[in-house]
Subunit: 425 residues, 2 copies
Amino acid sequence: MALVVQKYGGTSVGTPERIRAVARRVAAARRRGDDLVVVVSAMGDTTDDLLALAEQVTGRSAPGREHPRELDMLLTAGERISMALVAMAIREEGEEALSFTGSQAAIITDGTHTAARIVEVRADRVREELARGRVVIVAGFQGVSRDREITTLGRGGSDTSAVALAAALRADRCEIYTDVDGVFTADPRRVPGARLVPEVSHAEMIELAAAGAQVMHPRAVEIGARHGVDIRVLSSFREEGEKARGTLITRNPRRMEELALTGITSARGHAKLLLRGLPAGMSTPTTVLARLAGAGVPVDMIAEHPEGDGRIGLQVTTWEDALPRAREVMDELMRDPGGTGWEVREELARVALVGSGMHGRPGVYARAFRALLDHQVEVHAVSTSAISITLLVPAEREDDALRALHSVFEMELVGERVENAPEAP
Amino acid sequence: MALVVQKYGGTSVGTPERIRAVARRVAAARRRGDDLVVVVSAMGDTTDDLLALAEQVTGRSAPGREHPRELDMLLTAGERISMALVAMAIREEGEEALSFTGSQAAIITDGTHTAARIVEVRADRVREELARGRVVIVAGFQGVSRDREITTLGRGGSDTSAVALAAALRADRCEIYTDVDGVFTADPRRVPGARLVPEVSHAEMIELAAAGAQVMHPRAVEIGARHGVDIRVLSSFREEGEKARGTLITRNPRRMEELALTGITSARGHAKLLLRGLPAGMSTPTTVLARLAGAGVPVDMIAEHPEGDGRIGLQVTTWEDALPRAREVMDELMRDPGGTGWEVREELARVALVGSGMHGRPGVYARAFRALLDHQVEVHAVSTSAISITLLVPAEREDDALRALHSVFEMELVGERVENAPEAP
């Protein structure tokens, strides 16, 4: 008998029919003898609908900035609805079940409304009810602070709830049900021939997620890495029993090849800043980064080059939505510490090639560049880590870059072909 | 500086615009120096929409019977949404505000899901926040049991929450905002010339509410009576400052006349059962009532008459929706203890004339009968209490009966004319 935490996302509980499908899956697992904790997101567009109501009532485009506590109170209604309905549906399948809010499940967070961090999961009531043979449904995305204030976890919140519960309960398995079959070597809608990755390490998954793979939030994977929780990502749209193993995120993935790449992902909305004629010196990059950070401009990559005459140039990549603030900072920097000019290159995509197998193998780097050169994709910036290579390319060449890289590393990518991969609804 | 509890019903918070209107009213009261606790219902049709979802998920027409705990969990999402939005809107008006669930406000109930009774209101956090100068919004209709289970109060729940909070906080005033101007001498949509009642006693209001006046639930008025809470019912659709005093429910209403009637109300859906040829004897009515109660048939009035030959007849009034069960019980009663036959008269309306002034004055009774006779309205049953006369009439003559009674008691009815009474939306 295993203890299993299952998490179902918004599309997986998006309609009464989908909720009944989830209930059948849970009941089948229960009848096989597993103890089950089921973490749910809000149904479909509920969270967006609630947010729209708050915008109408307040006349503000981001009501959470002005009313963080009340926005959390509002949004937590979403999972409350889905968890009660899922509990009813499981009971209709003949299994005992009951639902708990984040507060009742004692998911304790700090007091940062709209973006709280989990500090502890006590889950005493969850344990008690499991011991009574009941399926326990827990609201994802929400918790309670030590001051008894209701909080939400922000982006990736429900995944984070599930993995944190799995860690606290020392669950045997943590299953994240979503609307895709798992993690792919590249986005199958964009790269024909993209394949399912059977196993990845936590570190690889964090890189993939940070680089745009939307299957799982990196924050949840980090908790899994820290507490040694194996996480399986799989589709709730596959029928029970259908061959669908999904992707296992685990500490030591089994690999056939020594050089193994796990995936290529991408995201748009990036931009590059070029600052020219800054004074050379150790303190200049620090000053630039501090000023940008002070204005709330996030920085992704940074590179420095000498220009001669005691001057340097700096290239900084950021996100397009930060450009208005970035432009103001660059104007200031031209006056102090002084510079000769700045430029912005917008509409860039960030493409990342991820895999622990590339560590210490400069050949990968060279082959990636060669592939892009062969397809005449201009590279605007590049950065490497132990397990990834990140490249900025023009957004309109994003798909060409993905396909070129997928094609040149075809042999090293660890994926498996998936038959009849269902489209997300 | 007064402590005021205000309650806003579903139509009063039905849209973002209505919520902003509520916020303006609350902020104006706050600026006049009052401390405010605001109790809210779910927005408009939210509760019905959630109930429909539960019906779809479970395939049951009354999901609360099978899943009472989870239905409570589901429905409490409704007030959570409205209370957070109301708090945001009040903050937008420049006043400090925060919302509490029934659980956070420590509205402690018994464990009867879907129809819990309040056993205690601790409201410690409410008091703390009031002391900090904040407006406190509290979810109506919901509480928490001593086992930390979320409960709902059933019918009239939000009114009940408001009056119970007013009692616990020893509030100076309890204001129930609704979509009508207050309590009328009769339904103004049916009786031209119906007038607003400025003051009624709790006992009169309980009679009026039980007899069909939907302005306030009798249960909430009972709590007000027990704890001496004065309750003012008034319209949230009147602008601030507009002359609109509503109706004050109070222990000792001020009256101009000694014989004062407060109102005439009515409700359809009643029926009369006539059982003939039952054995005479003390135990027969008890047996009949016990069998009806055992089958879940509620009884309103009962009357016995002798038939001779050691036999009696019984007339019992009930509600039409209980007739299928009532018919089965009557068939059984004909076999044991034995009877000669039964009849049912359906489509009756229950008309009640209420007022403490009628106590000990048989003239009222006679004038009521005479008025109905003059208008050829047949009376199928009659019952009196210290402060009311209740009559069953054919449903199709309901309006005629209301108007006849209103006309004959015109001088004694305590109401005031209301200018431009706005229609409920």
